[in-house]
Symmetry: C2
Subunit: 497 residues, 2 copies
């Protein structure tokens, strides 16, 4: 049974119907996501109750919630697929690798709930045996459940500062209104880069190295590219530095059976004809009576409200009529996407496991500085996945395709031996080269942005509402944050903005 | 005689003609800007040799130079006027105030040359008597040719650090390839905000205050918003900190008779029908045979090459097919516009002059922290001009129109007395609210951008060339830089890219 037919069971004429009047008044049923119901379809171009721009997890979650509450919804997606920065790529035999977001952790409860609703299960990220540290030319194993084996004094400094200075400071940043956090010197924290803070608070090369590698792997930038305050917010949003960086029990704890994109694919299947692919939104017009959303085709889509479920940098590329308030417009100028690529090499088996290796690496040498064992849950084929981010990414992306492959496999071989040089398949995804993402995993905030422009992240502008993981209070930057933002914006729309 | 007919003297059938073949081979005549010649017009939508996007000084300069070399050119401008961030506003009786860029200094030789070519003269900025410092609640006069009278130890520190530390460091930043400057620690300089550097190098409140007020007035941001390396580049690009900030002999030395917009207006008159107003460019397509440039109307304009003469943030809002290389695309995500407004109050006479005041103020209290006497050259009416920038601007812009006026006039009155509260006219321009600028005076570079993305500022992408003051090596951010960029890009196009 396809995911579509399997999920269609709750639909049909027998399902309860909620009138548009009831929806617009904020139906009580909205709080509970019921199976998506059939209702008479509006004309193809509307008017709809709500248009959602972007069929990533944020947009799909919002559309699902609104449709369940009885609203008429259409989702306009520029790509020919759903999922945004969540993407399965087939490696044959019904197996996939994930080219985008993939991990899930125990406190990421909203993506876990959504996955459960659409019948997508999880399994543990492979985390047995030893991980590897490649540092100053030497390869050192360390228990996968432990910390990279930099010199003891360096590790001591790293953990002391991260856990007793950084974490408590991050905990003081208000998740709802970071720009109004009490008890911290906001101007000082937002006036410096994370690099400046690093240099002031870590003296050992090993501690500084760990700080850098966390940055690159977690948000696709170097510490110099972001405000230290935004980094604090990011840490608090994840519940602390350990939840952010650890595998077992942290943000990398588990993966989704069938691949993370199975979630948006199933949500989209439920939404059926409400999803319109290949419809890049070029302009959004609003007046007192509603919104008109223009794509490349001649006829605009009409609705009462529109949800823009894109990262700010992409939302800023839509034309707005009337133009957006300056604070909101400049926000879209000031949240660039990170630079992030994933490479995956497929082997007949996960050969490193027999060497007692977890497949996880932390390295001071690029282009791949962080790896994971991305083998499917049944154990074959073996898949090594690596992140190429920030400075490494900017160099690697400009290589030719054969050079990129050689560089990526060369990194794998440095950690796992010559066997890594001969995969049966190689898959790469450079998200900066994707027209409808232009970067990954998340929009960054350079210094001064969070305090001055943070207040423009979420509030609607008239009939235009904003979603996307960048707007999330918890697990911003993650699939979980995207889902949370979709839920929040759906509630906001139902409450009348 | 209108500027158009006056300038048309060099045109006509008798002028020498340069064939397209000769143009495309890089005509020798290109180095000298001759009067713009008539040549058979292409069909309205081309094909042209070159399409220029944006009729600011950069685009107009490029178009003028190319047309003079015999190229067929069309300039597509989104607004219903030319000049971009250069704009005269009438105050009646044939007098104007300048809502955008207005000052010119002696080393800004390319804008001066262009002004001379189109017959626009200069006059000295009023700089007689005393300027005023408003600091910590007190108003203190100081000679207009001197330095603000902060406490002596503070001024001593300010000048010592600015002139003996900052200036020499700035001079080490390579103007052609700042990201490859020798002898400086690029990563350290680009890894910190100018705020971080300020706090480390200035200990007195007065010195820190002067550093801030320079930032706000010069580039429309707080020191926390930019990379220190970009600030060093900006200083070197202007020839040093004193050329940047001083009136007599510096960047504020002179003004243009008739207003700065007279220059683009006259250049545009010379170009005549080559300027197409009200044509926002939405998409640029290129292939091996040429470019197609789409506006809101159905038919695309065709050409061999296109020059995008917009700041990066605005260039990033055009769709490109094929998409731009990631480094170039991300550059457009990472150079936000400053936040900048100008307010001008018109009085029957420049009453402050009789009090021995220059009309210039430096203040620690907003919203107006910097003022100038913007009186026309004949001495009437009296005009006070003030800048409202960065943090002040973000607050002020969100006020109602009467509140904005009251706040601006309240600042003027704080410095010049109650007479300033009752102007006969009040003019304001908030550039962040302008659809086709969305900020002013220049695109900023947060930390990490110049070293990593600077190399993508100027090189053409296939048939697409980039101009705008942000691409200039000298006087970037100024009208002079815009003209230089237009000259550079015209030469680049003629040389075949």
């Amino acid at each position: 049974m396809s995911s579509h037919t399997r999920r269609a069971a709750g639909s049909g004429p027998g399902s309860p119907r909620i009138s548009r009047r009831k929806f617009l008044a904020g139906a009580a049923a909205a709080a509970v996501v019921a199976p998506v119901r059939a209702r008479p379809a509006p004309l193809p171009h509307g008017p709809y109750d709500v248009i959602v721009v972007g069929a990533g997890l944020a947009g799909l979650t919002a559309a699902r919630r609104l449709a369940a509450a009885g609203a008429s919804v259409v989702v306009l997606e520029a790509r020919d697929r759903v999922g945004g920065r969540v993407l399965n790529e087939s490696i044959g035999n019904g197996k996939i690798v994930e080219a985008g977001a993939q991990f899930v952790g125990p406190t990421q409860t909203r993506i876990l709930a959504l996955a459960a609703e659409v019948g997508v299960e999880t399994f543990k990220t492979y985390n047995d045996g030893n991980s590897l540290l490649y540092y100053q030319g030497a390869l050192t194993p360390y228990p996968a459940t432990g910390f990279p084996d930099v010199p003891p004094a360096d590790l001591n400094e790293a953990l002391t500062v991260l856990l007793t200075v950084l974490d408590p400071l991050a905990a003081q940043v208000d998740l709802h209104q970071p720009w109004a956090s009490a008890g911290v010197d906001l101007q000082a924290l937002d006036g410096q880069t994370a690099e400046t803070w690093k240099l002031a608070h870590f003296q050992t090369p090993g501690a500084r190295f760990l700080f850098d590698v966390i940055f690159e792997a977690v948000i696709g930038c170097e510490p110099r590219e972001t405000s230290f305050l935004h980094w604090l917010f990011y840490i608090h949003s994840a519940g602390g530095i350990l939840p952010l960086v650890t595998t077992a029990g942290g943000a990398q704890d588990s993966r989704f059976v069938g691949g993370s994109q199975l979630i948006p694919l199933r949500v989209a299947a439920d939404l059926g004809g409400r999803i319109q692919l290949g419809r890049p939104v070029r302009r959004i017009l609003q007046d007192g009576s509603g919104v008109a959303v223009e794509t490349d085709r001649h006829r605009a889509f009409k609705a009462g409200r529109v949800i823009v479920a894109l990262p700010p940098a992409m939302a800023g590329r839509i034309a707005y009529d009337p133009i957006l308030p300056a604070l909101r417009d400049q926000l879209t100028q000031r949240m660039p996407m990170g630079w992030y690529a994933k490479v995956e090499a497929v082997y007949p088996t996960p050969f490193w496991r027999s060497d007692g290796l977890s497949g996880q690496v932390v390295s001071d040498t690029g282009p791949v500085r962080t790896t994971f064992d991305n083998t499917p849950p049944d154990g074959t084929p073996g898949v090594l996945m690596g992140f190429i981010a920030a400075d490494d990414g900017r160099v690697w992306s400009q290589l030719s395709a054969p050079e990129r492959r050689n560089a990526a496999l060369g990194s794998f071989a440095r950690y796992f031996g010559a066997a890594a040089l001969a995969p049966i398949q190689y898959v790469e995804k450079d998200w900066t080269a994707e027209e409808w993402s232009r970067g990954d995993p998340v929009g960054l905030m350079p210094p001064g942005v969070l305090t001055q422009y943070g207040p423009a992240l979420r509030p609607p502008v008239g009939r235009i509402h904003w979603a996307g993981t960048e707007t999330a209070e918890m697990w911003t930057g993650y699939m979980d944050g995207a889902v949370r933002s979709g839920e929040r914006v759906a509630d906001e729309v139902q409450a009348g903005g």
